[in-house]
């Protein structure tokens, strides 16, 4: 059955957005990522204008992350204190990122910077997560017997002022640490036009040293608020949110997020990290192919990446 989308001005088979929502919602519930880096290109592939795809995706992420946050909160896997500190940094970073993009667009090389940021960030994060997770799965027993060795970087983090204990995550950091890293992710997310979950998750795991299951719930909590802000701004300033498309996507994604949360608890933290790393690397390879192979059409609708 086909439905007409009033803002995208196109008709779509309802199975496509519901199916995409289900698949991306599953990833959201499993890994704590919004899935924007997957969903937006998929929607464009199915004929949705790029500006509408990006704006509407943020609306469905609100639903999926609400559903996912709720599921994780019920089992005590959301660190609200850490989430708020990351959120403050992410909000400021997002504003800085939007300004950077404006300057880059005026200079005429925004697309190059965006594409390179995508490849580099996804490539580095994916490779690091993959290698680290495989190594830690192999060496788990050996490492468990050794006392944790503190690096210079972690000693520097501990020396910062405003140290506070994050009870749910079981870690102690300066409030500046999540705020600064949240800001850094916020800048990159704004530059890349995504929610930033796939960058935030590694920051929480490797820099903030939070346990993987709390990372997923807290990341979803933070993404929820980011996407509420983005949805409102997109609807108010750009008129690009397609309500019908959003409803079809969120029908799938909310169910997917719940199923993902259930599966997530059955998998070990290291297994989750390996699977997420593989997905991130597959997306990286896809972008590299897109960049190097001659496209079928040399013109595309203006407005998207």
């Amino acid at each position: 059955m086909y439905l007409y989308l009033p803002v995208a001005l196109t008709s779509i088979n309802i199975l496509i957005p519901v199916g995409l929502g289900l698949a991306v919602g599953l990833l959201s519930g499993l890994f704590g990522v919004g899935g924007g880096f997957l969903m937006t290109p998929l929607l464009i592939m199915f004929g949705i204008p790029s500006t509408v795809a990006a704006a509407t995706d943020s609306t469905q992420i609100v639903a999926a992350s609400t559903s996912g946050t709720y599921a994780h909160w019920k089992v005590g896997n959301v660190d609200f204190k850490m989430g708020l500190h990351l959120l403050v940094g992410g909000f400021v970073g997002g504003l800085l990122g939007v300004q950077s993009i404006k300057i880059l667009r005026a200079m005429g090389n925004a697309d190059f910077v965006i594409k390179m940021t995508y490849v580099l960030m996804l490539g580095i994060v994916g490779t690091y997560m993959f290698i680290e997770s495989i190594q830690s799965m192999r060496n788990k027993k050996v490492e468990e017997s050794k006392p944790e060795k503190k690096s210079g970087f972690s000693r520097f983090l501990k020396s910062l002022p405003f140290q506070t204990h994050y009870e749910k995550s079981g870690v102690t950091h300066s409030v500046l640490v999540p705020a600064i890293f949240g800001g850094f992710v916020g800048i990159l997310a704004a530059v890349m036009g995504v929610g930033g979950g796939f960058l935030m998750v590694p920051v929480m795991v490797y820099i903030l040293r939070m346990p993987m299951h709390v990372v997923v719930g807290t990341s979803l909590f933070q993404i929820l608020f980011n996407c509420i802000e983005v949805t409102f701004l997109q609807a108010y300033t750009n008129h690009n949110v397609d309500f019908i498309l959003a409803v079809l996507l969120l029908l799938g994604s909310t169910v997917g997020a719940q199923v993902g949360a259930v599966f997530g608890r059955k998998l070990k933290g290291e297994q989750l990290k390996v699977i997420l790393a593989v997905i991130v690397l597959v997306v990286t390879v896809k972008i590299i192919f897109e960049l190097t192979l001659t496209p079928s059409l040399l013109l595309s609708q203006a407005g998207g990446h």
Partner: protein, 263 residues
């Protein structure tokens, strides 16, 4: 003398009639009619495109060209090219002025076989005449212009908004007149607006007559209400979208929670 004058008058009148008859043979009689079966296409919730059939009567033996177009418009498109010699990405924006968003051209034969270049350009019939009509900026030379015009046609054809065909108009002779008929798919990609159907009767490489009809495409019902709200009341539309998303998220969360799925 008077008799001679009368004879010469008759000869002159006869010559004038013969000349008029010769001239008349190049002009179709004013019989060209056009009728589009759907002059109003509503875009409702379940809209997935439509069909438009164009039919009418023309003088027997005339060739026909049927053109369906949107009004001339402006389009800005991302232009892909190689950066650093090997990476394909958007390198800039190309602007296309006087470019109709939709352009269908159907002929009993190929336009260039039945029309001279002057008439093709005058009535903007066929892609070569469209090439002369559309302004493309920024381009540095004719070669580059032709390349991007061809890419523009490929982009539009891929979006099903431009099409050109020949030999698909069905014609039958009836009572000395020619009946014609063609059915075309109306793509859902065509945005709301008013479209002009023009039928050209062609003889001796010239357009001898034309007739016009209109097709109006308009949003209706829920589609119209939502589209209007998104454009005119963005803040309320945004808040409703967020509340709906939060409601569905919590709703599904609670359903799964109740069933034990989340625990």
């Amino acid at each position: 003398m008077n008799f001679k004058f009368q004879i010469s008058n008759h000869i002159l009148a006869g010559i004038v009639i013969v000349i008029m008859c010769v001239m008349y043979s190049g002009i179709a009689s004013a019989e060209l009619t056009v009728n589009a079966n759907h002059d109003y296409i509503p875009i409702d919730f379940f809209y997935h495109g439509s069909t438009v059939s164009v039919s009418g009567l023309s003088d027997a033996g005339t060739d026909l060209i049927i053109k369906i177009t949107a009004p001339d418009g402006h389009e800005a498109l991302n232009q892909k090219g190689k950066a650093a010699g090997f990476l394909w990405m958007n390198l800039g924006t190309l602007k296309f002025e006087h470019a109709p968003n939709l352009y269908f051209i159907h002929g009993t034969k190929k336009p260039e076989e039945i029309l001279n270049a002057e008439n093709m350009n005058k009535y903007i019939i066929g892609y070569p005449s469209m090439n002369k009509h559309i302004e493309i900026t920024p381009v540095s030379n004719d070669e580059e212009r032709t390349k991007w015009f061809n890419e523009f046609i490929r982009y539009k054809e891929a979006s099903r908004l431009y099409t050109a065909s020949s030999g698909q108009i069905k014609t039958t002779n009836e009572n000395g007149m020619q009946k014609y008929y063609i059915q075309t798919d109306w793509p859902y990609q065509a945005p709301p607006g008013e479209y002009l159907v023009t039928v050209y009767a062609v003889k001796n490489k010239k357009v001898v007559e034309k007739a016009e009809a209109k097709v109006t495409v308009e949003q209706a019902g829920i589609v119209k209400a939502l589209s209007g709200m998104a454009k005119n009341n963005g803040a309320l539309y945004g808040i409703i979208s967020i509340i709906a998303a939060l409601g569905v998220g919590f709703g599904v969360g609670m359903i799964f929670g109740k069933d034990g799925g989340a625990h």
